[in-house]
C-alpha cells in the first residue's frame, strides 16, 4: 500500500463530518451568525439602548423585529443579546475544558489513590445542586459590584467583572463529565505500548502527557466541548431570565425572553418581543446541537450514547 492511499484518522473524521449534511449546514450557519453578531455594531442602524417614542411597534421595514417597551429596536437588542449569550457559552465551555482536561488527565495519569480521591470529588460534585450554588454566588457577586460602583467604579469595569463571574461560575459547574471522559481515556492510553516505549527511552511525565497522551484525547474532548457550549448557553439564559445573569441595560437572550414574558397581558399581545429572542435562542441551540452530534459521529464513532455534558 502506498502512503498516498492511507488516510490519517483526522482526514477520515473530516470526510465523515463533511458527509453529515445537518452538521455541515449548522457549522456554516453558526459561522455566519457569529460573524454577523460580531460585526453588527459596525453597521447597526440603531444603538442598542437608544430609547425612542416608538413603543411596542410591531415588525416593520424600519424595525424588522419591532420595538420593545422603551421603543428600542428589537433586532439590535437581539443581536447584542446573542453576542453575549454566545460569548458566555464559548468562554464558559472553555473554562470547563481547562478544568476538566487538567483534572481528568492528572487523575488518569497518576492513578492510584490520587485518582480515587479526585474521582470521588467528581462524584460528590455531580450530586450537588450546583445551580443553587451558582445562584448564591452570583447574588453575592452582584452585591459586591453594586458596592464598588457606588464607590466610583465605571459601569464598564463592573460589567466586565460580572461577565467574568458568569464565565467562571458556569465553567465551574460544567467540567465534571469532561473530567470523567478524559480520565477514562488517559487511563487506557497510559498502558499502551507507545507510551511505555517513550517512558523506556527516558521521557519525563510532562513530555509523555503533552506529546503522547493529550494529542490522543483531542477528538473526544472536541466532541464534549461542542456539546457543552449549548448547555452553558442554556444555563446563562436560565440565570439571566431569573435576573441573576446579565444586568440591564445590557441584554442576553435569556433576559430578553424574560422582558417579553413580563409584557404578557390580556389586553394586547406583543408577540414579537418574545417570539424573536426565543426563536434566536432555539435556532442557535439547534445548530449547536446538530454540530455537536455531527462532530461526535465523525470523531468518536464508537459512542452512540448521548451523555449530557452538564449534569
Amino acid at each position: 500500500m502506498s502512503d498516498a492511499n492511507v488516510q490519517s484518522p483526522t482526514a477520515r473524521a473530516w470526510q465523515r463530518f463533511k458527509r453529515n449534511r445537518a452538521g455541515w449546514c449548522s457549522a456554516w450557519f453558526l459561522a455566519g451568525f457569529v460573524l454577523l453578531v460580531a460585526l453588527w455594531p459596525a453597521f447597526a442602524p440603531y444603538p442598542p439602548d437608544a430609547i425612542s417614542d416608538a413603543q411596542f411597534h410591531p415588525p416593520s421595514a424600519a424595525h424588522w423585529f419591532g420595538t420593545d417597551v422603551h421603543g428600542r429596536d428589537l433586532l439590535t437588542r437581539v443581536f447584542y443579546g446573542a453576542r453575549i449569550s454566545l460569548l458566555v457559552g464559548g468562554v464558559g465551555a472553555g473554562v470547563s475544558l481547562v478544568i476538566g482536561v487538567l483534572w481528568g488527565a492528572v487523575a488518569g495519569y497518576v492513578g492510584g489513590r490520587l485518582d480515587g480521591l479526585m474521582m470521588r470529588i467528581v462524584d460528590v460534585l455531580y450530586a450537588l445542586p450546583s445551580i443553587v450554588f451558582v445562584i448564591v454566588l452570583l447574588t453575592a457577586l452582584n452585591g459586591i459590584l453594586d458596592r464598588f460602583q457606588a464607590r466610583g467604579w465605571s459601569g464598564e469595569t463592573a460589567r466586565g467583572v460580572q461577565l467574568l463571574g458568569l464565565f467562571v461560575g458556569l465553567g465551574a459547574i460544567s467540567w465534571l463529565t469532561m473530567a470523567r471522559i478524559v480520565r477514562g481515556e488517559v487511563l487506557s492510553l497510559r498502558t499502551r505500548p507507545f507510551v511505555e516505549a517513550s517512558r523506556a527511552l527516558g521521557a519525563g511525565h510532562a513530555r509523555i502527557l503533552w506529546l503522547h497522551i493529550l494529542p490522543n484525547v483531542v477528538g473526544i474532548v472536541i466532541v464534549y466541548l461542542a456539546l457543552t457550549v449549548p448547555a452553558v448557553v442554556l444555563y446563562e439564559s436560565f440565570l439571566s431570565y431569573l435576573g441573576l445573569g446579565i444586568q440591564p441595560p445590557q441584554a442576553s437572550l435569556g433576559s430578553l425572553i424574560a422582558e417579553g414574558a413580563s409584557q404578557i397581558n390580556p389586553i394586547r399581545i406583543y408577540w414579537w418581543i418574545i417570539a424573536f429572542p426565543a426563536a434566536t435562542l432555539a435556532l442557535t441551540l439547534l445548530a449547536l446541537n446538530f454540530l455537536g452530534d455531527a462532530l461526535r459521529d465523525a470523531l468518536d464513532p464508537r459512542s452512540a450514547l448521548d451523555q449530557s455534558p452538564v449534569r
Binding site: L128, I135, A140, R147, I264, A278, L281, L286, L305, R311
Partner: protein, 305 residues
C-alpha cells in the same frame, strides 16, 4: 447492602460540608438582611434586630448555633418573612413544588420513552428523522421559552387554560407541559439511542432465533435494557426539574419553594438560603441513591460486577 450502607454513611459528612459552604457564602455577600426596604428606623433598632437573630456573633459561633438547632429539627426563622420559620415556609411550598416536579417527570417519561422507542424502530425512514428532529427541537426550547409561548397562545389568546396560579387541575396543565417538554426531548433521545444500541446485541438475536414474537422481543427483552440510560438519567432529571421550577413558579405565580430560592438569596435571608440549599442537597442525594439502586436492579451486567 454493603454498598448501600457505604453510600448512606457518606451523606451526613457531605451535608455538613454543604451546609457550611452555604452558610459562609451567603454571609460573604455584601449587604445584610435588614437593608433596602426593610431598613430599620434607627441604628439602635438594627442592632437589636441583629442581636435577636444572633447575627452580631462571630460566624463560627453562629454556625454552631445553627447546627444545634438542626439537631432539634429547627432550621431557624426567616429574616424576611417575620413570624415564619424556615421549616414553615418549606412545609407550605414543598408539596406544591414536588407535585409540579413529579407531574413534569411523568410527562417527560410518558412522552419521551414511547417517542424514543418508536423512533428507534423506524430506522432510516422519514418517520425516524421526524422523531429525531422533533426531539432535538424539544431540547432547544427551554421551559422559559415554552412557558410564555403557551401562556400567550392557550391562556391569553384562546383562553383554554388559566393564565397563572395553582388551584384546579386545569391550572396544572400549562406549568407541567412548559417544564416537561424540554426533558421529554432529552428522555426520547436517550431512549432512542439506548434502543438502537440494545437491538444490536446478541441476546436479541437469540430471542428472535428461538421464535419469540417481535412484540415479546421488543417489550420483554429489549425495552428492559434499553431503558437503563433513561433510568440513570432520571436522578439528574428530577434535580433539573426541581431547579427548573424556579422559572416556572415565577412565571405562573405558583406558591412553591422555587420562588424562595432566588428571592431569599437576593434579600440575604440567610437561614432561608441555607435551609433551601440543604433541602435541595438532601433531595438530590437521596434521589441519586434511589436511581443507583434501580440501575443495579435493571442491568444484570452492572449487578455482577
Amino acid at each position: 447492602m454493603n454498598y448501600l450502607f457505604k453510600r448512606l454513611a457518606l451523606l451526613p459528612p457531605l451535608l455538613l460540608v454543604i451546609s457550611f459552604l452555604a452558610f459562609v457564602l451567603v454571609r460573604l455577600a455584601p449587604g445584610g438582611p435588614f437593608d433596602r426596604e426593610r431598613k430599620p428606623a434607627s441604628p439602635e433598632i438594627e442592632r437589636a434586630l441583629l442581636a435577636r437573630y444572633h447575627l452580631d456573633e462571630p460566624v463560627a459561633r453562629q454556625y454552631v448555633r445553627f447546627l444545634a438547632g438542626l439537631v432539634r429539627g429547627d432550621f431557624g426563622a426567616s429574616l424576611k418573612y417575620r413570624n415564619h420559620t424556615v421549616a414553615d415556609i418549606i412545609a407550605q411550598g414543598l408539596p406544591v413544588s414536588l407535585t409540579l416536579g413529579l407531574l413534569a417527570f411523568g410527562f417527560s417519561m410518558g412522552l419521551g420513552i414511547p417517542a424514543g422507542f418508536y423512533g428507534a424502530l423506524r430506522r432510516g425512514q422519514w418517520r425516524e428523522h421526524g422523531v429525531a428532529l422533533l426531539t432535538l427541537l424539544a431540547v432547544c426550547v427551554p421551559s422559559f421559552v415554552v412557558g410564555p409561548v403557551l401562556v400567550m397562545l392557550l391562556a391569553v389568546k384562546w383562553s383554554v387554560f388559566p393564565v397563572a396560579l395553582w388551584e384546579s387541575p386545569l391550572h396544572v396543565v400549562l406549568p407541567t407541559a412548559s417544564l416537561g417538554v424540554y426533558f421529554a426531548g432529552k428522555v426520547a433521545r436517550l431512549m432512542r439511542e439506548g434502543m438502537i444500541e440494545t437491538l444490536r446485541l446478541e441476546f436479541i438475536q437469540t430471542a428472535r432465533a428461538k421464535g419469540l414474537s417481535e412484540t415479546a422481543v421488543l417489550l420483554r427483552h429489549a425495552l428492559r435494557l434499553a431503558v437503563v440510560p433513561v433510568v440513570s438519567y432520571s436522578g439528574p432529571l428530577l434535580a433539573d426539574l426541581l431547579t427548573g421550577s424556579f422559572v416556572i413558579e415565577n412565571l405562573f405565580q405558583i406558591p412553591g419553594i422555587g420562588v424562595f430560592m432566588v428571592n431569599s438569596s437576593l434579600s440575604r435571608d440567610y437561614p432561608m438560603v441555607v435551609g433551601l440549599v440543604l433541602l435541595y442537597a438532601i433531595l438530590l442525594l437521596v434521589l441519586n441513591l434511589i436511581v443507583d439502586l434501580a440501575y443495579h436492579l435493571l442491568d444484570p451486567r452492572v449487578r455482577h460486577e
